[in-house]
């Protein structure tokens, strides 16, 4: 392979306790620690390992988001990506628009493999990878926990409800990374400095000829309901009737 493209989404860090905006229009991100979506970090780690095994020549990290998403691309470069592209927009980008945008970058870069996280932890849509494969009209391997390459094909182990499924896909293809695919490396401090000198290109949606076409309307954002207080039951019969009351038995 010559090129692997990896999608990195800027999301609220997984350690942050999410707070909903008072008007319910979304969650608060001002002054909140932002990070690479953890599944995307796994995607990048896998691309780097493929390159380090000598099976790819270049890893390109791409993101769609505000100017500040450069921070996440810099982190990706510090992990080991060779260069980065930011498609800069302050607008909310839905999965279908993200897939359309990524397709434009694919047309420009012609990668043999695209890896993204199986979902982003902000909205948990889990759609971009699959939509991208459909628009690109190439095979996809989603929820990947293991991948090997031979003869222009990828052998992919997928995590499915019933266990593991192994499929073979022709390249070029889209893979979406699951949690157990790998354990991402720690960024080394010298590599943070080196990342500053790696190329990071910024383009606009206009440059790519993309006009966002939102399909979704956010009606309301609510924090999760508070956990209900537990009750003590007298005996097993009490437990059974309590479960029946809840429709669980």
């Amino acid at each position: 392979m010559k090129k692997i493209m990896v999608g990195l989404k800027r999301v609220v860090d997984y350690n942050v306790r999410i707070r909903v905006k008072p008007d319910g229009s979304g969650v608060i991100t001002d002054g909140v620690k932002m990070s690479i979506n953890p599944f995307d970090e796994i995607a990048l780690e896998e691309a780097l390992r493929i390159k380090e095994r000598g099976e790819a020549e270049e890893v390109i990290a791409v993101s769609i988001g505000p100017a500040d998403a450069q921070q996440q691309l810099r982190t990706g470069l510090a992990m080991g990506a060779d260069r980065a592209i930011l498609v800069q927009t302050d607008k909310l980008v839905e999965p279908l628009d993200a897939a359309r945008t990524l397709l434009k970058l694919i047309e420009k870069e012609s990668p043999e493999l695209v890896i993204v996280g199986k979902q982003a932890i902000d909205d948990d849509n889990g759609q971009t990878g699959a939509m991208l494969a459909a628009l690109w009209d190439r095979p996809q391997g989603t929820c990947v926990s293991e991948v090997t390459f031979a003869d222009g094909k990828a052998t992919v182990t997928r995590e499915v409800d019933s266990g593991l499924e192994t499929i073979e896909v022709d390249l070029p293809a889209v893979l979406t990374a699951d949690l157990r695919l790998n354990e991402p490396r720690y960024v080394k401090l010298p590599d943070i400095m080196k990342a500053k000198r790696k190329p990071l290109e910024t383009v606009s949606l206009d440059d790519l000829g993309i006009a966002l076409d939102p399909q979704l309307e956010i009606v309301k954002t609510d924090p999760p309901a508070q956990r209900q207080k537990g009750v003590m039951v007298e005996d097993v019969d009490g437990l059974i009737s309590a479960l029946k009351d809840k429709g669980l038995l």
Binding site: N15, K33, Q71, T75
Partner: protein, 597 residues
């Protein structure tokens, strides 16, 4: 639990304006992203490699088996992750093989590691300290032989000062260095309390050893500094045969058990080779030049351990239902979380005020160290050095004393569970109990402050410091929400100025013993005043943030305002009452006779 990232970001960016620090030449290669990157990596490693094993490292303390130290295996993975990421050399100059990160940033990262697992953190911290000492005073040949391997984490470092008969009084050390014909020395003696003194984590250990060259003058004027490797190192930097440093035993500590603590016999079983660092008889002076950094770092780790306990007890208090509100005792009502009980709120607020205040004070000192390092103006460098000299005993002692108090409160919040080993708060207390003891005990810091630092340059540094406190009080006095605190702090400042004048006059009259008898009380009082001042500054920033960008992070800033209120209302009055005691020049402690106890 780790120090919250929001806390570190607030202190670095909003309080200490790390961005302004980056404008200088030394830090020209750094920007907000590299600082964030350093912290991101610190948090990732601390969370995955340090935190999960803090309890195990405590329960399975180091063992002495077949002449070797046995540590839990997770220690190796953690110190490898730490050194491979580049943390040991992070603050070193690029020319010396480091990353030239600002001191304040690496210290903040250190606090995060300490909050995760202070025992594992010890190895890297000690190695960086030893390398820094060697880097500052060693010859180019010694530096090139040892430092690159230390920064890579192949060689670890220790500080060997104390001996069984000479603890706080280093004047009495007796380890002997006999000159050999080719400029090397043969060392012989016993060193006590050596953290990281022996282990298999790296290929070698580099001991920085204080010893007397034969024929040297007695007392502190005859102490020299040596670098003594566990295994001899050739010119190419490869470790070879053993250098006759015998591991005589392990010390079994109350806490901080993840860092092995040893008794070492130098020169047992054959010649132990050492190399003089700098000039003869200057060893203690060299050590003391590094003392500001080391002592500020101790205060920082004390604040980190206190903070971790605060996080655990806060979590527990929010989730533990027990009892009913004072206003409604109806047993049919569901119990409330204990955080709703006023006395639990008191215990939590005290922890918040001690630990966040202590951390802010420590990082403020780290910033002054940066400023001292980067200024090219000799006058300014001298003034900053004096200011740091004055602040160091306080930055070391105040968090060590009061963040330990925070750990006590954390146990109290958990009640019986807090006293059991199933919860980490008792371990954090034990870990933190070391901090008022090592790197100069609490009492020694009091003597350092009142016996030396207050007098330096005719009291210039103290005058300058208290002027800054007064100016901040005056500035804030027009802000209605904060003016009450400014008044309280201004009053406490005047009290401290008054008693300082009295004590200085006593010393001037040759009554040093009388003046110094209550030095510890003086230390605690000045510490409380400075932490109140720190809270006032944090409160001012928080108030501005609440006004400038309401709705973004109101709870965080409100919490700061409440902690300022707590500290100035409930804690600061100690300064006034201590000042009354100090003004009495009470002779009790000097008059006591042994038989009266």
């Amino acid at each position: 639990m780790l120090i919250r990232r929001r806390e570190i970001d607030f202190l670095l960016k909003e309080f200490l304006k790390v961005g302004e620090l980056l404008n200088c030449e030394r830090y020209a290669n750094h920007d907000g992203d590299t600082i964030d990157g350093l912290l991101d990596t610190a948090y990732a490693i601390a969370e995955k490699e340090f935190l999960p094993y803090a309890s195990k490292a405590d329960i399975e303390e180091p063992e002495f088996i077949d002449g070797q130290v046995k540590l839990i295996p997770e220690t190796q993975a953690a110190v490898n992750a730490y050194s491979e990421a580049g943390f040991i050399g992070a603050a070193f100059a690029e020319d010396d093989g480091g990353m030239q990160f600002p001191w304040i940033a690496t210290q903040a990262a250190g606090a995060v590691f300490a909050s995760a697992n202070v025992g594992f953190y010890g190895y890297g911290m000690l190695t960086a300290g030893a390398a820094n000492l060697l880097n500052t005073f060693g010859s180019p040949e010694l530096k090139s032989r040892f430092i690159p391997a230390m920064l890579e984490g192949r060689f670890f470092g220790t500080m060997c000062l104390t001996e069984p008969q000479a603890g706080s009084s280093l004047a009495d050390i007796s380890t002997l260095a006999q000159p050999l014909e080719d400029g090397r020395y043969s060392l012989r003696g016993t060193k006590m309390w050596i953290s990281g003194g022996d282990h298999q984590l790296g290929e070698n250990i580099v001991h920085m050893v204080l010893a007397r060259i034969s024929g040297a003058p007695p007392g502190v004027k005859g102490i020299s500094l040596f670098v003594v490797p566990r295994n001899l190192v050739d010119e190419q930097g490869s470790s070879g045969e053993k250098n006759n440093i015998a591991l005589a035993g392990l010390n079994h500590k109350m806490g901080w058990r993840g860092t092995v603590n040893t008794l070492l016999n130098f020169g047992e079983g054959g010649q132990c080779e050492g190399y003089l660092v700098g000039e003869p008889n200057k060893g203690l002076a060299y050590m003391f030049q590094m003392m500001n950094e080391a002592r500020v770092a101790v205060g920082m780790s004390a604040a980190a351990l206190g903070y971790s306990g605060y996080m655990h007890s806060l979590d527990y208090a929010m989730n533990r239902p027990q009892g009913r509100p004072l206003t409604s005792r109806d047993p049919e009502q569901p119990p409330v979380a204990i955080i709703k009980h006023p006395d639990v709120a008191r215990l939590l607020l005290a922890q918040k005020a001690y630990t966040e205040g202590g951390l802010a004070l420590s990082l403020y000192c780290a910033r002054l160290l940066d400023e001292e390092m980067i200024t090219s103006d000799p006058e300014q460098k001298k003034a900053l050095n004096a200011m740091l000299g004055l602040l160091t005993p306080i930055a070391k002692s105040w968090p060590s004393e009061f963040c330990l108090e925070a750990n006590k409160h954390a146990i109290q919040v958990l009640g019986g569970y807090g006293y059991s080993r199933e919860y980490p708060v008792e371990r954090l207390y034990r870990d933190n109990r070391l901090n008022p003891i090592h790197e100069g005990t609490h009492g020694i810091q009091g003597l350092d402050l009142l016996g030396r630092k207050v007098f330096m340059d005719g009291g210039m540094a103290l005058g300058q410091l208290l002027r800054m406190v007064r100016e901040d009080c005056a500035r804030v006095s027009v802000t209605p929400a904060l003016s009450q605190y400014a008044q309280l702090i201004a009053k406490a400042t005047e009290d401290m100025i008054r008693v300082t004048g009295m004590l200085v006059a006593d010393a001037g009259k040759g009554e040093a013993e009388k003046a110094l008898a209550n030095a510890t009380l003086y230390l605690d009082s000045l510490g409380h005043l400075l932490v109140a001042w720190t809270w006032l500054r944090l409160a001012r920033i928080s108030l501005e943030a609440l006004e400038d960008a309401p709705g973004t992070d109101d709870a965080f800033y409100q919490g700061k305002l409440k902690a300022c209120h707590y500290f100035c209302t409930y804690e600061l009055p100690r300064v006034n009452s201590n000042a009354r005691i100090l003004a009495m020049r009470d002779g009790l402690f000097t008059e006591m006779q042994d038989e009266w106890y």
